[in-house]
Structures are given as structure tokens and as C-alpha cells.
């Protein structure tokens, strides 16, 4: 079984936020009302974070990074889920089962990366967005927690296609929407166990680091430091 992982090269990333939009439209993530957005309920699975500013003005650089679900190998969210609505599946993706979730938000409280978002309100979308729903992904009702799933529906479709064509999955068959969209190919995606894959090479690069590595969550999303 492959173990899917992602490496985001901060040296290449130009903070254009295409991954954020791609994620939003690929996964039918709810657009919340003006009131909700201003009260901290905007929903983004992929988010552009400004971590800190390095240096003093004018030799100052913000450290920005796109942050999606880290798809931890030792996820702290699944430990606390009382109903098995979130769990790690055989390919290492931490999946979220929306029809199972009771909305207790314990996983949100326990995620050190704050990647989980909650449907605080009824899903009432603008007309133009409703018509652009991705039919591969459900539209979550209110009251459930959701998060990045590495576009697991794309994995289903890709594996199905590969099986129908009587072949094995090939590296390029399944990539999440953010990876596909990234204009500068800053995000590489693939099988971490395959030592020859680009993502596994990059994850062992001297520049590579994981967010909050000290917590022992073993994220499968790693970053490559920017070269100064």
C-alpha cells in the first residue's frame, strides 16, 4: 500500500493562493456569510499562514506557508473522536466521514495545526457557487467537522480508472487539486514509501522540515525551507 505524502517547497511558493482557491472549489467548501467570516468562521481547508517576520525593516521577510491538513501518521484528532468519524485509512490519509460526525469538535480542540473547520451555519451558498459544485464531493450540512482529505475522491476515481484499464496506479494518476493547480509546482505529491519518488526524495532533503515536529504527530506534509 502506498503512503501518500506531500512536500511544499517554500522556496518556490509565490503565495499566489491558487491552492487555496482550488481546494475551495474542488471540495465544495462552504462560503460563509459576511457576519460569520468576520467572526472567525471562514472555512478554508488550505490556508495561507503568515508565520512570522524574519529580520528588521527593511531587510524583513515574512515567512508564509500554505497549510493544509498535515495528514499526521500519529494523528491526535483520531484518538479523541468519540464516533470514529475521523480515522487513518490504509493509504495513510486521515479521512473524515461526514455522515458519522456528531459535531462535538473535540478533534478541532486537539489539532495542533488548527486544520479542522466546522460548519457553524446552514449551508446556504450563492447561486453562482451552487452551480459549480464538484459532483464528486458531498456538500456538508451544518454541524459537522470537515478538513482536507488529500482530495480522496480523486484517489477513488483514479484507482477505479486504473483498475478498469487493468493496470496499477501510476505516480501521476492521483494528485490533489492544490498540487494540480500550483502554478510553480511548489507542491509535490506522491508515495512516501517509494524511495524513488520525488516526494520521498524531497522529504529527506536537508531543507525539509515539518510543522511542530516536536509534538510527535509525524506529519506527512513536509516543507522545504526557502533558500536565503
Amino acid at each position: 500500500m502506498p503512503k501518500y505524502g506531500m512536500v511544499i517547497d517554500l522556496n518556490k511558493c509565490s503565495s499566489c493562493q491558487a491552492c487555496v482557491t482550488a481546494c475551495k472549489i474542488e471540495n465544495n467548501v462552504q462560503i460563509v456569510s459576511e457576519y460569520d467570516a468576520q467572526h472567525g468562521r471562514a472555512m478554508f481547508w488550505m490556508k495561507m499562514l503568515t508565520m512570522e517576520f524574519e529580520g528588521d525593516y527593511p531587510n524583513i521577510r515574512p515567512k508564509t506557508l500554505p497549510r493544509n491538513c498535515m495528514q499526521c501518521d500519529e494523528p491526535s484528532c483520531i484518538k479523541v473522536c468519540p464516533v470514529r468519524a475521523t480515522y487513518k485509512n490504509e493509504v495513510g490519509i486521515v479521512a473524515q466521514i461526514y455522515p458519522q460526525c456528531i459535531g462535538c469538535r473535540y478533534c478541532m480542540a486537539n489539532c495542533p495545526y488548527t486544520v479542522k473547520v466546522f460548519n457553524w451555519d446552514r449551508n446556504e451558498q450563492p447561486k453562482e457557487v451552487e452551480k459549480c459544485y464538484d459532483p464528486d464531493v458531498s456538500v456538508r450540512p451544518k454541524g459537522v467537522v470537515e478538513k482536507c482529505t488529500f482530495c480522496i475522491h480523486r484517489l477513488q476515481i483514479a484507482s477505479e480508472k486504473a483498475k478498469a484499464e487493468h493496470r496499477d496506479m501510476e505516480p501521476g494518476d492521483y494528485v490533489p487539486a492544490c498540487v494540480e493547480t500550483c502554478p510553480v509546482d511548489a507542491i509535490s505529491f506522491g508515495d512516501l514509501d517509494d524511495k524513488k519518488s520525488e516526494v520521498s526524495k524531497e522529504s529527506r532533503d536537508y531543507r525539509s522540515f515539518a510543522l511542530l515536529d516536536e509534538l510527535g504527530t509525524v506529519p506527512k506534509v513536509r516543507y522545504l525551507n526557502a533558500i536565503e
Partner: protein, 719 residues
């Protein structure tokens, strides 16, 4: 047991209450919003169609995902040489425009200040009548299109109408303006392959440029080779923090900085002496001007740019084998507008434009006509509408210049004074709401068009095919203009009936020329490459019609192995260009006071004021700052403390044009003398208004030559 009426009533009442409670309780478990209805119920057949994104000058290839023949998503086309599969937020959300409820569904005519739906025939009748009775010499056209073909068509129409009052607002043409005037023509591309140092004057290469996605990729390759680049800009935008050095400087001082760099190079004597000797006109006058006014110390005292950075940058620039001093449209947005651009052109000339390239092969018709179509023959700009009593008819194609320019009230008044204003906008926006007649254009996904570009160093023609049949009774503006030219007999030998014919007439030579390939496969490598260069082609088409159909299907044509050469212009630069003759400005006159300045900055989401009607983009606009649906200002914490303004609070920002409310964000990277405010929000014509349009509050100075406003020189106070 006896039962009287009372008991019966009790029983009935009890059971009714029980029924109600039970029913309601059960219904509660099926609360609205708990279940979301099915997304689709059709057969769910998925198809993909290839087209080109027309949201910005980038000409990225798009793959549109269709479910049961309706577009649902758009992604980048991996075979397009412009974007290679990547796509920006604007392109990703292009489907939303198609379904937008605010789209105009039919031509509209203004009657007593209100728009009424009319038929296309009627609208076209009004248009032809107006143009034939009152058109010759009295019409003006403001267009915003990145298609050289559409731009050319518009110019042809205006030529027929004997009017020079036409502006095609096109990123490429704006940025090539100073090249056109200072030099013989302009370079086609930056030679990223050989260039090794870039000084960037204020352009947001990866966000707002001729092709943001191409530049993002090339800049990464450039940096991967450990090449350096420096950015002079008023704000630390995402582009600037990729630079090896960012030097904060206000746009009106670009001229000082560029000439300060030139000073160092001239004193070091490291400039390209043969080029300067042969090509640079009036070099001595230039040298004298620089030596007198632009010593690094003098520049530092005026601009605040440390002279050590100037010297360091200048030496790097001079020592590089192929340096580029890059600028684009944004350099014009200051009170020293054109002088900035000339100064950078002059700086490039000192090294002989070493990092720029030129396409050698000039057989391609489109690119031959490019200059004719795009270069500003007349120096008319939309600002000149104000006070021009001769204009009787104004036509506006997709440009929302009222929104994206300061001094809106003057423009609004000028437009309302014009007796006949015709807009071709598919939406009611701030500009088209002033029109008397709107003939809405198709949405980009319903439309046929083509774009040409040389920015990658390879000639590319990207085609936009109609992905869906038009939803409403909208009309392709190209078709309107083509039939206008035919009906009003504005051009001799006009044989086109539709815009498609017009496009084909331009693309036939490309077919005959025989080189290049369709965007249906990866760029050839190895043997294929050598075959290709030797002139062998694996054409998959045998006739022009087939070529045209294939081109539409695959998203375009390009020549992966063009013949290029170093760009060698004859620089006809005079000292007058750099001293802003006629304006009375002298070098160094733009001293900046101690007051706070409002710096309006653009983001990659919407720099033409058209895209932020898309819900996804609007929500995401301030996401990285965690501000939603409202205008924010970015302020240096030191400045904020001085003004006692708290982080994430609301303040009133006051300029000469009024005051607006904004949300404060501390940002240590902001120039202490500036308050940065993003452009994009505040669409007053849409149903729900989010935020404010900072342009409305800008006391901009307009550069007479370009008509571009200064965006960072408005004095501002925080109340």
C-alpha cells in the same frame, strides 16, 4: 366508566398535545439544513474542454470540466506553454462568472434613468443610427482586452470612424510604451535563459504582469540558478519577498533610483561602451544630467534609499553579463510616470539591453501586426474624456475604468455629459451603469477569441473556444463590430461576416507558414527537437479549416523552437524625456514630506476591478490577513504606536477626498511613512457592497502623457 363531554375534551386535548409534541419532536430531528439535497440528478457524463483564460494578460490555458454539458470547474491546461498546468485563483473561479446571477441577459436601454430590456435588433439599430448620423470624428472607444485581434478590430472601427480617440487598455501595450518612444520598438521577452541579474522597479512579476504564471515559474528557475534579483517597490508584496534584496522606495522616486544606479555605473565606467557609442543618442547630455543630479548621496537624501544599497546594486548590475532592469505598467502609476520608465530604459541601455530578447522570425502575421495594433499611435487616454466636448459617442468594451481609476467623480460627470454611451459589458458595473445602451458581451466561456503572446520567448497563439452555447441573448462584441464595419461601410474590401472570419484572416498565414505545433502534446525533446529545428513538422491537419478546428480544440498553437536574437534597439533617448519637459518638474523636486501617504496596492485577485464579484475570490481576498469582506489598511507597528492605533481595530482614514472606515493590520514590513490599502473591494454597482474602493479617496496626480494616476502620493490622516 362514564364519559362526559368534559372528559372527552380532556382526552382529545391530551392526545392532540401528545400528537403535537411527538410530531414536532420527530420533525425536530429532521431540521432544515441537516440534510443537503442531491447535487445532480443527470446521467453525470464528464467531459473536458480546452480554452484560454481571458481574465488577465497571462493567456493561460484552461481545462474546463463539464458535467452533462455544463461547466463546473476549471483547471490549468498542462499543455499550454504559458502556464503548464498551473492556474491562478482568477482562472480557477472563471466558471462562477458564467452562472453569475447579476449577468445581463439581454441588451439594455436606459429610459428615464432606468435600464429596460430590449431586443438585440433594436439595440443594434440604435447603435448604427448613432454612429452613422453622429459618428465620424466624434466617437471615442475605451476598451480593455488582452486580445491583439480584438484590439486591432476596435482600432479598425475607429479608423473607419475617423477618430483617434481610442484606447485599448492592454497590459503589454502600456508597459511597452516607453520602449516604443525611447527606442525603435520594444523587446519581446526577458531572456531568462541567459540573464543573470534583475533589478525590478515596482512590477509585481508573479502577481500582476504580462503573464504572472510564466514569470512565477521563470523567476523560480532564475533563483534556482542562484541568480540574484533586487526589487525597488513601495510595498513588500509576495514578489518582493522572493527578491534577494527589497529596497522600499516610493514610485515617484524610481527615476532617481534608476539614475542613481546609472551614476555609479557611469563613474565606474563599467557600461557597454560599444553599444553606447553606436546606439545611444545624446549620451553626453544624459551623462551630464546624471552626473550633476544623481549622485548616490543626493539620491539618498531625496529618496531615503541607502547609498550603500545603490552602489551594491549598481555594481552587481554592471558586473552581470546579461542584466535586466525590469519595469512594467505599474512604474507609470506615479507623478513622475513616464520619466521613471525612461530612466529605466536608459539604465538598460548602459548595458546594451543584454538581458532582453527579440523574436527573429517575423513572418507570423499576428506579431507583425502587433505593433500596429497595440502601440499607441495617438496618445489619447481615457482621462481625456474630461472636458472633451467633441465626443458625442463613447463606446466602452469591458473596461471598468471608472472603478479602477482615481478621480471617479470627474470621470462620471464627463461620461454623463456624453449624449450616447454604449457599453459592451456583460455585467452592470461602475462604468456600464453610466451607459445609455448596453449590448452585453458573452461570458468568457461562451466566447470565441484568440490571444497572441511572445512573453515566453516563443510565439504563442492561444484560442478561446465557446465551451457552452450562450445562456442568454448576449452577443459577441467582435461580431457586433464586424457587422458595424460592414454595415456602415467603414473599411474597404471588408469581407468578414463574423468575428471568426476576422480571426481566421489573421491566422491563415500562421497555417501557411507551417512551423510550430498545436497545444496537443508536450514540448518535443531529443530527436524530435532536432527534426523540428530542421524544419520537419508532424502536422496533424491538412487544411486550414482543420487547423482552425484543431487549434480551438487544443487551445492554441505555438512555436517551441523560435529563432531569437539579442534585443538591439537604437535608443533615441533625449535629456528632455528625463527632465519632464513642459511640466516644470526638476529632478529631485518630488521631495516627500513628513506626512503619511496612502499607498494603494494591487493584489493578484483583481487588479482591473472586475473579478471581485465572484464569491470565492471575494471571501478569499483578505484571507491571509484574516480580514473578510472589508477594506483593511496595513500599517507599520512603529507608525501605529505613534498614532496610537491598535492592531485589528477599526479606524477612520481621512484623505482630501473624504474618509473611509478600515480595519487595521499591523505589518512590520510596511514602509513607516505609508499606509497600505488594497484595491479591489467596494463595487458599488453590485447588489452587496463590501468594503470601499480606495481609488475614490485618492488625490491622485495624473501623468499627462499616460493618463495614469499616482497611487502612493495621497496625504492621509488617521482619525
Amino acid at each position: 366508566m362514564e364519559m362526559n363531554r368534559r372528559d372527552f375534551a380532556k382526552l382529545l386535548g391530551g392526545s392532540l398535545i401528545g400528537f403535537a409534541v411527538g410530531g414536532a419532536g420527530d420533525a425536530l430531528l429532521k431540521i432544515p439544513g441537516m440534510v443537503v439535497p442531491l447535487l445532480y440528478s443527470g446521467p453525470h457524463v464528464e467531459t473536458w474542454k480546452v480554452t484560454t483564460c481571458a481574465k488577465c494578460p497571462g493567456k493561460c490555458g484552461l481545462r474546463v470540466r463539464m458535467i452533462d454539458k455544463f461547466p463546473v470547474q476549471a483547471f490549468g491546461n498542462p499543455l499550454s506553454p504559458m502556464n503548464k498546468g498551473g492556474i491562478c485563483p482568477m482562472g480557477l473561479t472563471s466558471v462562477e462568472n458564467l452562472y453569475h446571477p447579476d449577468r445581463l441577459t439581454s441588451p439594455m436601454k436606459k429610459v428615464n434613468g432606468r435600464f429596460q430590456e430590449i431586443s438585440y435588433a433594436e439595440a443594434y439599430g440604435i447603435l448604427t443610427n448613432a454612429l452613422s448620423s453622429n459618428g465620424k470624428g466624434k466617437a471615442a472607444f475605451v476598451a480593455q482586452t488582452d486580445s491583439a485581434f480584438m484590439g486591432g478590430l476596435i482600432k479598425q472601427l475607429m479608423a473607419g470612424l475617423e477618430s483617434e480617440k481610442v484606447v485599448v487598455d492592454n497590459f503589454a501595450s502600456s508597459s511597452s510604451m516607453p520602449f516604443d518612444r525611447a527606442a525603435a520598438d520594444h523587446p519581446d521577452f526577458i531572456d531568462f535563459e541567459s540573464c543573470d541579474y534583475i533589478v525590478n522597479f515596482g512590477s509585481q512579476l508573479t502577481e500582476i504582469s504580462e503573464s504572472p504564471l510564466y514569470f512565477s515559474r521563470s523567476m523560480n528557475d532564475f533563483r534556482a540558478k542562484r541568480n540574484e534579483f533586487s526589487t525597488f517597490s513601495p510595498k513588500l508584496t509576495p514578489d518582493a519577498y522572493k527578491a534577494n534584496r527589497w529596497v522600499p522606495v516610493s514610485p515617484e522616486f524610481y527615476v532617481d533610483v534608476a539614475l542613481g544606479l546609472a551614476y555609479v555605473i557611469l563613474t565606474d565606467g563599467t557600461y557597454d561602451k560599444t553599444f553606447v557609442g553606436n546606439e545611444f543618442k545624446d549620451f553626453d547630455g544624459f551623462k551630464k544630467l546624471v552626473m550633476e543630479n544623481y549622485s548616490p548621496a543626493a539620491v539618498e537624501s531625496r529618496t531615503g534609499v541607502a547609498s550603500k544599497y545603490l552602489i551594491e546594486t549598481a555594481r552587481k548590475f554592471a558586473n552581470a553579463s546579461a542584466p535586466v532592469a525590469y519595469f512594467d505598467e505599474s512604474i507609470l502609476y506615479s507623478s513622475s510616470g513616464m520619466r521613471n520608465a525612461y530612466a529605466v530604459v536608459a539604465l538598460n541601455a548602459l548595458k546594451g539591453f543584454a538581458g532582453y530578447g527579440k523574436l527573429k522570425d517575423r513572418e507570423l502575421p499576428d506579431f507583425e501586426n502587433k505593433k500596429e495594433n497595440e502601440s499607441p499611435q495617438s496618445s489619447w487616454n481615457s482621462r481625456m474624456l474630461i472636458g472633451d466636448k467633441d465626443i458625442k459617442i463613447l463606446m466602452i468594451y469591458r473596461s471598468n475604468f471608472v472603478f479602477n481609476s482615481p478621480g471617479q467623480d470627474d470621470l462620471r460627470k464627463a461620461i454623463s455629459d456624453i449624449p450616447m454611451v454604449i457599453s459592451f459589458s456583460p455585467f452592470i458595473d461602475e462604468t456600464s451603469e453610466l451607459a445609455d445602451l448596453i449590448i452585453p458581451d458573452h461570458d468568457d466561456l461562451e466566447k470565441l477569441d484568440a490571444f497572441s503572446s511572445t512573453v515566453t520567448g516563443a510565439p504563442v497563439i492561444s484560442t478561446q473556444q465557446p465551451v457552452v452555447k450562450p445562456f442568454y441573448s448576449t452577443v459577441h462584441t467582435g461580431d457586433v463590430i464586424v457587422s458595424l464595419i460592414a454595415d456602415l461601410k467603414l473599411s474597404k474590401n471588408w469581407s468578414c461576416k463574423k468575428y471568426e472570419d476576422y480571426l481566421q484572416s489573421y491566422l491563415k498565414p500562421v497555417y501557411k507558414h507551417g512551423k510550430g505545433m498545436l497545444m496537443n502534446q508536450q514540448k518535443p525533446t531529443g530527436l524530435e527537437k532536432s527534426l523540428h529545428q530542421a524544419g520537419w513538422q508532424m502536422a496533424s491537419y491538412s487544411s486550414f479549416d482543420e487547423f482552425w478546428q484543431q487549434m480551438l480544440k487544443h487551445g492554441g498553437w505555438w512555436d517551441p523552437f523560435p529563432q531569437t536574437s539579442k534585443y538591439k534597439p537604437a535608443v533615441s533617448l533625449t535629456v528632455d524625456h528625463l527632465t519632464a519637459n513642459g511640466r516644470g518638474d526638476q529632478p529631485g523636486k518630488n521631495a516627500r514630506g513628513n506626512s503619511l501617504k496612502l499607498n494603494i496596492f494591487h493584489r493578484n485577485f483583481d487588479y482591473r476591478g472586475n473579478m471581485l464579484r465572484n464569491p470565492v475570490l471575494t471571501e478569499q481576498f483578505g484571507m491571509d490577513k484574516d480580514v473578510y469582506y472589508e477594506t483593511w489598511i496595513e500599517i507599520n507597528p512603529a507608525t501605529a504606536k505613534r498614532l496610537s492605533v491598535g492592531d485589528r481595530t477599526k479606524v477612520k482614514v481621512k484623505t482630501g477626498k473624504g474618509a473611509f472606515e478600515a480595519f487595521v493590520i499591523y505589518n512590520p514590513a510596511v514602509v513607516p511613512a505609508n499606509i497600505d490599502v488594497p484595491f479591489g473591494l467596494g463595487h458599488t454597482a453590485s447588489k452587496k457592497v463590501y468594503g470601499v474602493n480606495p481609488m475614490q479617496y485618492s488625490d491622485a496626480v495624473f501623468d499627462e502623457e499616460t493618463g495614469k494616476p499616482s497611487l502612493s502620493e495621497t496625504e492621509v490622516k488617521i482619525v
